[in-house]
């Protein structure tokens, strides 16, 4: 769709616009490199050097050593590698523990493992989307191969307290995987301090193009590869690495890292002012997720009396881009499984939108969006009141 209006992009949790630093890194790579980083010749050596610089940059947003970072095609592949890689080394153990509010790239591999005879435990969150570590502990036993949990929830932004889990997982002999896709680069993330075995990162949430991710692997001996071929990525992920993606990811990670302290405050206050403006203009507006202990950029809001689907489209036509739940194969939006797990009704889930800010949003944009959203809400409630919109 050709750009016809000024678009205010408020869907950074789905994917951020490419940062200038990432674009510059891609241009530089195209100009300078050109070899396979696994090759012996000097072109290969140049590529390899750039890949390793990127690896170190990416490692820095996760508190990891560069040698512990495996480049993948993105968050979904990293999560698949973590899950299938973990069960690949746990011959006897048949149980996986996760939560009900994880991303589909966690829930779908686990559902597949259930079809293959594994047991899955999906811990329920509280009404703010917090996972009680005690519930994870209650399910943990000597049969458990893997515990996998998100550090910050993509839909509501709730940040989990996962630090207590590493030692108990280790005692039980289970691997501990953290999906840090939404957290890394936005809040300080330290894989070593969290004590996890595996951690997923994604490039395009930070301003790299889609198609590049990474998996932190504390000890390569603990998981088995799922893609076989050449000796790339320490034997953990065969296939010539996506060098363009990797250098962009590295540059985006470095930019996010150096701006993080200032951006947390800036974006946090933009989101707070947006929430204040909307709460004032829209009686009955509800914030989903906790007041504190949340990503600074994410607002999940239930708009009273409207279908989120209508709000989403109406806002898009006004140039404000937000999201809702997840799209089905047909492209229609389905109510969020995260909100349902938090105890919200289907009706409330259908009335909820996610607004997620990021590096390129300005105070002016937030001002404009905060004025437009209530106008659109009033128009939609007037034209299509929920009693009529019986899709509930």
């Amino acid at each position: 769709m050709t750009k016809t209006v000024h678009e205010i992009y408020l869907d950074h949790n789905a994917g951020a616009p490419v940062r200038a630093e990432a674009a510059a890194a891609i241009s530089r790579l195209i100009a300078e490199a050109g070899g396979n980083p696994a090759s012996v010749h000097r072109a290969g050596q140049r590529s390899r050097r750039m890949l390793e610089v990127a690896r170190a940059q990416v490692a820095s947003i996760a508190g990891a050593e560069p040698r512990q970072m495996v480049f993948t095609s993105g968050g979904t592949e990293s999560n698949n590698l973590a899950i299938f890689g973990a069960i690949g080394t746990a011959a006897r153990r048949r149980k996986i523990i996760t939560s009900q509010i994880e991303h589909s790239s966690i829930l779908a591999p686990i559902a597949e493992l259930e079809r293959r005879g594994f047991d899955a435990v999906r811990v329920a969150p509280d009404s703010d989307g917090r996972i009680d570590p005690a519930r994870v502990l209650a399910a943990l036993d000597s049969e458990t191969a893997l515990v996998t949990l998100g550090l910050a929830n993509s839909e509501v932004g709730t940040i989990q307290d996962l630090a207590p889990l590493a030692s108990v997982c280790a005692e039980a002999g289970a691997l501990f995987h953290i999906d840090a896709v939404q957290a890394a680069g936005r809040i300080p993330v330290d894989a070593a301090a969290l004590g996890c075995d595996l951690m997923t990162l994604s490039g395009h949430k930070l301003g790299a193009p889609a198609g590049i991710g990474a998996l932190y692997v504390r000890d390569f001996a603990r998981i088995a590869p799922i893609v076989f071929g050449g000796p790339h990525e320490g034997g953990m992920r065969a296939g010539t690495p996506n060098l363009l993606g990797a250098v962009a990811f590295g540059a985006a990670a470095e930019a996010a890292m150096s701006a993080m302290a200032a951006e947390r405050v800036r974006i946090g206050s933009l989101a707070a002012s947006m929430l204040a403006r909307l709460s004032e203009a829209i009686p009955g507006l509800r914030l989903n997720g906790p007041i504190a202990g949340r990503l600074p950029n994410t607002l999940n809001l239930t708009f009273p009396g409207v279908l989120g689907e209508s709000m989403l489209i109406a806002l898009d036509l006004e140039g404000v881009e937000v999201s809702m739940g997840s799209a089905c194969a047909a492209g229609a939006v389905e109510p969020s499984h995260v909100l349902r797990a938090m105890g919200r009704s289907v009706a409330d889930a259908r009335s909820s939108l996610r607004i997620s800010l990021g590096w390129n949003n300005t105070a002016d944009e937030i001002e404009t969006a905060a004025a437009l959203i209530p106008q659109v809400w009033r128009r939609v409630t007037g034209a299509e009141p929920l009693a009529e919109a019986s899709a509930r």
């Binding site: 769709m1 050709t2 409207v306 689907e309 209508s310 489209i313 109406a314 898009d316 036509l317 006004e318 194969a329 047909a330 492209g331 229609a332 939006v333 128009r379 939609v380 007037g382 034209a383 299509e384 009529e388 919109a389 019986s390 899709a391 509930r392």
Partner: protein, 368 residues
């Protein structure tokens, strides 16, 4: 400020070209595909496409990409189930033969979708229907047959009143199907040579009886007997929903003469069979009358042409409606078989005056 049009896109050639036409006319076009029917179920490979299949949505999306306007899939499944499918099942269980396309137009495309259109800031809803809307010098809107008589869909649109017509666009009304396909090809639209959809979209296999059985409780079915005009039992049957007036096959009667369903009595489960000539009627009673031309006064007999099935030709008749939204229609000469539940639409020449749902036939001996 350009006027915004919400175009209902099915993924077929007609709605694709309708979108292209309003785009050319300078409107701010927003395309939507409505998710109406439940997902097709059954084993992979045996699923038949419906008008709401993913492939059709993808085709609509590609047309929108090609013509460069925004496109969305909207979920109206709950509305469709409550307002169209339930009615379809209830009508069949009551021994009538419903026309769900009439219902879908009235309840979904020109009511529910209009609410969505206003929510999205649109001024009009456009569809790929073959019919024309003209505004007279007095400001009143007229609903007219399509230029292409073989594609005319005005029969399905009689429920549109003045308010609906004022906010509706039928960009294909003046075009023939051949012209529509040629336009689609010229624009490079992927839908240009797609075949017509024929079946009712939520019953893609065409087996209405099985659909009704799946959608209802066993206790709601009305089994009974096929009888002749003198009440003699000819055969047993498993439910009145399996019959439609005028139907010949499936009576389960071994008889020397050809028998047709003449009447369905849902309460007693009786299906009355008769010879072809016994189907002829003097007229009919229709209810839920809706007038496109709201200047027509109740009580007065009005000469019209009436169409009682989409594929039938309109025949001369006299129509008189009362304030209770019921009408009595007398055919000028011997009329065809009348099927309760179908739409009965009044025309005057090219123009649709209104219509209703057929309640019952008026037998020849009752005629004055």
């Amino acid at each position: 400020m350009r006027r915004r049009v919400l175009v209902a896109m099915s993924g077929g050639v007609d709605s694709s070209v309708a979108a292209a036409m309003v785009r050319e006319q300078g409107y701010d076009v927003v395309g939507v595909a409505m998710r109406l029917a439940p997902e097709p179920s059954g084993p992979i490979g045996k699923r038949r496409g419906t008008c709401c299949s993913h492939d059709d949505f993808e085709d609509a999306r590609r047309v929108a990409e090609r013509l460069d306007f925004p496109f969305y899939v909207i979920d109206l499944r709950a509305d469709f189930a409550a307002r169209v499918v339930d009615n379809f099942v209830i009508e069949y269980l009551g021994g009538r033969t419903p026309n769900p396309c009439v219902m879908c137009n009235r309840e979904i495309k020109f009511d529910r979708l209009w609410s969505r259109a206003r929510a999205l800031g649109a001024d009009y809803v456009a569809t790929g229907h073959y019919a024309r809307i003209e505004q007279g010098a007095d400001g009143r809107f007229h609903l007219l047959r399509a230029a292409d008589d073989s594609k005319d869909q005005s029969y399905f649109l009689f429920t549109l009143g003045q308010d609906e017509l004022a906010r509706t666009l039928f960009p294909l009304g003046a075009m023939t199907k051949t012209e529509v396909r040629a336009r689609a090809r010229a624009l490079g639209l992927v839908t240009a040579d797609k075949p017509e959809s024929q079946e009712i979209c939520f019953v893609p296999d065409g087996d209405y009886a099985s659909f009704v059985e799946r959608q209802s409780d066993f206790a709601q079915l009305r089994p009974g007997a096929v009888i002749d005009r003198d009440g003699r039992r000819l055969a047993a049957h498993t439910g009145v929903h399996r019959f439609t007036v005028g139907q010949r096959r499936g009576l389960g009667v071994a008889s020397g003469e050809r028998l047709y369903v003449r009447e369905i009595r849902a309460e007693s489960g009786e299906v009355v069979a008769g010879r072809r000539e016994e189907l002829d009627c003097a007229g009919l009673v229709a209810n839920r009358i809706s007038l496109v031309d709201d200047s027509i006064a109740p009580g007065r007999a009005l000469g019209v042409e009436v169409k009682i099935r989409h594929r039938h030709r309109a025949i001369p008749a006299t129509m008189r409606f009362d304030s209770g939204r019921r009408a009595e229609i007398r055919f000028a000469s011997g009329g065809p078989a009348v099927t309760p539940g179908q739409a009965c639409v009044f025309y005057r020449g090219e123009e649709v005056l209104g219509g209703g749902i057929i309640e019952r036939a008026i037998a020849p001996e009752q005629a004055n």
